[in-house]
Amino acid sequence: MPATALKPEQLFTLDILAPNLVGYQAPQAAHDPAGDWTLSYRLHSLGRVRGPAVGGALGTVALTRKRLDDQRFSLQVTCQKPAGGKFTDKLEARIEARAERLPVAERWTWKSEIVDGDGQRVADSGMERSATAQPDALLFANPPRRTPIHGPWTLAWLLFEAIGRLPREPFAPLSFTLVDDFDQIKPGGALAYAQTQSVILGDRPVQQTRIEELPQGRIHKTSWEMSGGRPVPLHVYHQLGQGIVPWVYWVDDRGRPLLIVSGIEAYVLEAGQK
């Protein structure tokens, strides 16, 4: 039995993520998606050639939102991922944006680097870039580059922020060009509310023993069943578009994206959020 048993009419499953959700405790604290917050995620890669997926996290992602004024906010993004052996891939970014339903990025900087076990950057492996939004173009610095862009657009990381502020009921899907990973233009994006589902979270495998009486004698049958979880209503949104495997966002009643899954890439919100 999967950790997240769903009713048959529920379209979206978390089956693939279930091994990573055993005993998962969702954050309980209050949360204002339009306020100041930090959300930390475990990054999982769910692809397995042989055997079941295992629960270990591949890396971490931390998002920190700060209100700059009534209309604007900044989003700090920090990612760390082991890169084999003693090395670590690091990515840090800061985005300033307007808090509209589809966030409007104004400027952003990002720094990527590979560091060794002593924290030293591997030579020539790091760079820091910045970008500003113009009416019909993105202007990048270091090195300079002008990339035309038309119509509504947003940065991929901003959707992690925006999803908690969206209505928890059907609305006209948002259509946009996605600027993925800070600089990759992917047209045809669409973000929509799908449905609200009740999901069992926090369950663990428990050994069950059943005694069966047979004419020849009594036998003990043991099995493992998931137990101890509680139903949590989660609001499901999905994102489609060119250059992405569909993203599915699972958001709690307080507007916290708990679980974010794109094919075999998944983000699981850590408990104990600020």
Binding site: L11, F12, T13, D15, I16, L43, S45, L46, G47, R48, V49, L58, G59, K81, P82, A83, G84, G85, K86, F87, D89, L91, S112, E113, I114, V122, D124, S125, G126, M127, N142, P143, P144, R145, P173, D180, D181, D183, Q184, I185, K186, P187, A190, A192, A194, H238, L240, Q242, G243, I244, V245, P246, V248, S262, G263, I264, E265
Partner: protein, 499 residues
Amino acid sequence: MSPWCGRQEAMPSSLNIPSAHPSIMDQPDLAARGGTTTRREFLQAGTLGAAAGLSALASPAWSAPAVVQRRPPNFLFLITDQLGLDAIAAHGSRDAHTPHMDRLIARGVTFLESHSSSPVCSPARSSLMTGRMPVETGVISNSRPIHASRPNLGQWLGQAGYESVYCGKWHLPGGYPAEIPGFRVLPVGGGQGDIVDAYCSRACQAWLHQRRQDKPFLLVSSLLQPHDICYFAIQGKQLVPPQLPFASLAGHLPELPPNLHVRPAAPARLDAIKHEGFSDEQWRYYLYIYARQVEMVDAEIGRVLDALEDSGQADNTVVVLTSDHGDGRGRHQHVSKWYPYDEAAKVPLVFSAPGRMPEGLADRTHLVSGIDIMPTLCHLAGIEPPKCSGRSLRPLLEQRNVTWREFVGSEHHIVGRMLRTARYKYVHYEDDPVEQLFDMQADPWETRNLYQDAVYGDVLKDHRRMLAQWQASLEPVEPTPCFEGPGRQPGQGAGGKKA
């Protein structure tokens, strides 16, 4: 295929094609007679330049290359994983939007009869890195190292004065090792293509932006997508659900291939490969996901190409794009790879160096292979290639009239061989009486196996003969140890024993 794909036809988007290519080193054709490129041939071609100023490092089992007269070009070698030749928009895909690969194709020469040496990761990659067939590299299946007697591209160019840098998937044997013989490694890794590729392209971007060396470079940017599609087959129930969860996609999913349910008579090992359990809608969703993953790798390629342009080094850089193998994409009810059908065996091969090579050309005539890349890069660099089975494509890049090979071969399931001639495809597994013969002109979807049709008796005999000759021309080595499997140490094969 898209309508502009003709024999050395210009594409609509082509720019002016220079009548001469003075910056390609003017060397005689090495490949005119067929057969392999040898040291003797290269010497006869007068290409041995002075090796002054280039120190030869110690090499255990092969001698260093001789070198070069003037500043050779840089190479940006883009390797994708599981990218079929016709999965690119410029090659006819109606499902994927691939503006960056399209621009590379529009500004270069694309080979439309390009075949993997063995449509599975490690063997194919060993060929890309050595110019040898897998049976000659010792990498006859996944997760084996290249035989010590076979120098890799990084070692070979490195000893000729190149700065050789590798970033991304290696799989010979380790997936993302921090050390690779002959290369400086930009270490990335961890996760599948959806996660790791962005780190790879960013690292390549940073390296191109920051390097200050005067040496020519070989940068291998080895991206993993669209390989993630493997998991959509392996973990099909979870990732390709019976009911399409995204209602807005209904009516917008890719069309099914015409040979989805066609299963020609095949050797048993080949016949055993069949993906079952998908409805037509699931197959179409699978194709939808594959197209998105192709677009994902296209975006990473775009970042690296932009970085090359921004670095100011594009004018002296030859960009090469290929893949280790394709993906089944439902054809013959296949997912993944291994088999000799075109869906797995045909891969993109593009060379682009605007101002140095023709632009906007599609070569659909010459049969080429991943084994040709190493001798081609050596030839373009003016470096004697190691003895190998591949042939330099430079004459074809220059649109010279040359006598080209009659066939190209590939390996499958260790004991299977495929021979592709201009018109036919022939498949033989050494332990199986069932053969395959397809007329690729009349039957490009490989639906009718003609091997028992008496009309094709002579064709079959010819192909058997060619296969025997080809096999005799190769120089096999002992297979290297297989490291595949959890918890196994180098030097250990299956079960923890020495393989």
